[in-house]
């Protein structure tokens, strides 16, 4: 790394600039950018190259070093602007305070509390005891919207345990043989005839099996949010079983929450998700949101080996043709479309809502998702 002649002039100035550059790296880290030690060091090298020559180049250089995607560019530019050219005290950036976890999160039922479902926990003993086999059965059958406060924690624990056991794989006669592809002896022999019986070409049998991808489109409007957030828990537990999980929330507009879901610990992920507070309780625009998903994220997330899961009650405020059109587009891209409708769990429910009527001929699977048992049963739908 060569030092630029301009910089050697003043060692003190150089130190100050280095310090300021490192400070900027720290600021970005605090703002959620991926900045490690190596990035900080390289940021110094960038500063050496450009800082005293061309400020614009310096900005571009740091941006290419510290951003991971084009979506971060705008935030980077704003932070850069504020840090390096503060107009006044108000424009200056302060480090964010450490984010406080809500007290409820530490007690293991952040999910229902953060969505405002549960009041203060009632005294223990006023619900039936949850012990023994019948207790577990009850847990598995209870509708998510009817869970008593004291059941929440055991339910979450049970769910986590059961989900770990799910296999999510097509039954295969050659199960276990997946890791190594075997030589296809019959074809090798046949091919060797051409070379006088000398097997020159190695032919392997079968395709390498792939884990499918999962794309979730979850309704968080009004009555649906409880189910959706529970399903997110489910999705979080299943992440390792899929090649990739993308999650989108929608009510009146669409929001990509893939990054939030990727947080390792489930409570952390859920509290980040519930902090988003996007248009809860407002009407649902399924068709529009799905269309947006297919058009803007489709090429990236929807492929032939993708399972698209839509969790919604199908009560769309938009025109049903719009939903049908979007579903038709989605069918072209995704391998399979699964519609989970919690209302199916209600006895006597028939999908007569206009949106649902329009959607039914276009989806592959229509299944309930109102309690733990139904979620576990949805396992077999989640393979392509």
């Amino acid at each position: 790394m060569s030092t630029t002649p301009e910089l050697t002039a003043d060692a003190a100035l150089q130190d100050a600039l280095a310090e300021k550059t490192i400070g900027f790296a720290h600021l970005l880290r605090a703002q959620g950018f991926t900045v490690g030690l190596r990035e900080s060091q390289d940021a110094l090298a960038v500063a050496e190259c450009f800082l005293c020559r061309n400020f614009e180049d310096f900005r571009c250089g740091l941006r290419s070093l510290l951003c991971l995607s084009v979506e971060q560019f705008a935030r980077f530019d704003a932070l850069f602007e504020a840090y390096w050219q503060p107009q006044d005290g108000a424009g200056r950036i302060r480090r964010p305070k450490r984010i406080q976890m809500p007290a409820a999160a530490r007690h293991g039922h952040a999910l229902l509390q953060t969505v405002g479902l549960s009041e203060e926990p009632t005294e223990e003993g006023d619900t039936e005891a949850l012990s023994g086999a019948s207790g577990l059965e009850a847990l598995r059958r209870v509708d998510f919207s009817q869970v008593p406060v004291t059941w929440e924690e055991p339910l979450a624990r049970l769910a986590a345990r059961l989900w770990q056991r799910m296999r999510l794989r097509k039954p295969s006669r050659r199960a276990g043989a997946h890791h190594k592809r075997r030589p296809h002896f019959r074809r090798i022999l046949r091919r060797s005839l051409a070379t006088g019986g000398e097997p020159l070409e190695l032919i392997l049998a079968g395709h390498r099996p792939r884990r499918p991808r999962l794309v979730l489109l979850l309704d968080v409007s009004g009555s649906m949010e409880v189910y959706s957030l529970f399903f997110l828990r489910f999705a979080h537990a299943l992440q390792r079983r899929f090649r990739r999980v993308h999650a989108f929330l929608f009510s009146t507009h669409l929001e990509d929450v893939t990054a939030d879901l990727a947080v390792r610990d489930v409570q952390g992920a859920l509290s980040r998700l519930s902090r988003r507070r996007m248009g809860w309780n407002s009407g649902t625009r399924i068709g529009e949101s799905l269309g947006h998903l297919v058009r803007n994220h489709g090429p990236r997330v929807l492929r032939a080996d993708t399972v698209l899961v839509i969790l919604s009650d199908g009560l769309d405020v938009g025109p049903p043709e719009q939903l049908a059109g979007a579903l038709r587009e989605a069918r072209l891209r995704a391998g399979r479309i699964v519609w989970l409708n919690p209302l199916l769990g209600i006895e006597g429910y028939a999908p007569i809502a206009q949106g649902m009527q329009a959607a039914l001929p276009l989806i592959d699977v229509f299944a309930p998702a109102h309690n733990l048992d139904s979620l576990l049963a949805s396992e077999r739908h989640l393979v392509v």
């Binding site: 790394m1 991926t34 490690g36 990035e39 390289d42 090298a45 960038v46 190259c49 450009f50 020559r53 061309n54 614009e56 180049d57 571009c60 250089g61 941006r63 290419s64 070093l65 951003c67 991971l68 995607s69 084009v70 560019f73 000398e198 020159l200 190695l202 390498r208 090649r243 990739r244 090429p299 990236r300």
Partner: protein, 295 residues
């Protein structure tokens, strides 16, 4: 390591090779030669991601080694393979003689029988650091990405029969991606990142002038205005710079000096690639012509 004295020198070099680049693309390229980090280029199709690496190699007067990724690409076909047929032949030739045993084995597992694939070639380049272009890395599987991650941090490859091959010169690595799939953060983190956007009106005009020599000033303006207006519409596949150039050159070949509705309609295939986009163009024909004539 190959270096440029300054960004301006790099800019000048790109210009003389006929690549008119925005300044914010040159900065990461410059850092690529300085910091030795790989550079990940993302952007819409046809904005010149691959071309960037080619010009860089020309400019540094070094080899361009290109690895085109596709689904199912695995480590073996990118590193090395043993020349199985040649090995068998060698064994056959030795058959009648005194049993050579170990010597034969050493012989058939020597470099002579090794087929070098792009990644090994890039690492073992002796003259100067090569430019390694890993094109459309998003098409490869995640397994391959993980393998690449390892390679890009160590720049060494172990061949069990021969030993470890270390890079004499670290190659300058350029990765491109069309965002068919999101790349892992770990890989992105290793890399400098740049998003190549569609060029501004002035830049694109400059590109057209440089690449479609002999085009009239009026036609060049019209071409670029129409293309830029098209990108504003909700097209399925918006035209990239490559399409602009194709179109400009096609118009030149037809001997035209100005644009009209019929001409735009009949040469639309240069710009648009789907029938839905054709329909949209037809609907917007007159407003596009207005845009072309605007000042």
């Amino acid at each position: 390591m190959a270096e440029f004295d300054s960004l301006d020198a790099l800019e000048e070099g790109f210009r003389t090779h006929g690549y008119i680049a925005e300044r914010d693309l040159l900065t990461p390229l410059f850092l690529l030669t300085r910091l030795g980090r790989p550079l990940l280029l993302e952007g819409h199709a046809g904005v010149g991601k691959t071309e960037t690496a080619k010009v860089l190699a020309q400019l540094l007067d070094t080899d361009l080694i290109r690895l085109q990724c596709y689904e199912g690409l695995d480590a073996n076909s990118t590193l090395y393979e043993w020349n199985y047929q040649k090995q068998l032949l060698a064994i056959r030739l030795h058959e009648g003689r005194e049993a050579p045993g170990d010597a034969l084995e050493k012989h058939i597992f020597s470099r002579e029988f090794l087929l070098e694939r792009p990644l090994l070639r890039a690492i073992s380049a002796e003259r100067a650091p090569a430019v390694l272009l890993i094109d459309e890395v998003d098409r490869a599987d995640e397994e391959f990405e993980a393998f690449l991650l390892e390679l890009l941090s160590d720049f060494q490859i172990t061949i069990p029969e021969i030993g470890t091959v270390r890079a004499v010169h670290r190659p300058l690595v350029v990765l491109t991606s069309n965002r068919v799939r999101e790349l892992s953060d770990a890989l992105k983190r290793r890399c400098l990142y740049h998003w190549i956007d569609y060029p501004s009106f002035e830049k694109e005009l400059e590109i057209v002038r440089a690449k479609a020599a002999g085009i009239t000033e009026r036609l060049a303006h019209q071409v670029v205005r129409v293309v830029q207006a098209l990108r504003g519409l909700q097209l399925e596949k918006p035209p990239g710079v490559a399409e602009t150039l194709d179109w400009a050159i096609a118009l030149l070949a037809l001997g035209r000096t100005g644009l009209d509705e019929d001409l735009l309609e009949s040469t639309k295939g240069c710009l648009l690639k789907t029938t839905a986009d054709f329909d949209l163009l037809r609907a917007q024909l007159s407003s596009l012509m207005d845009a072309a004539e605007a000042n």
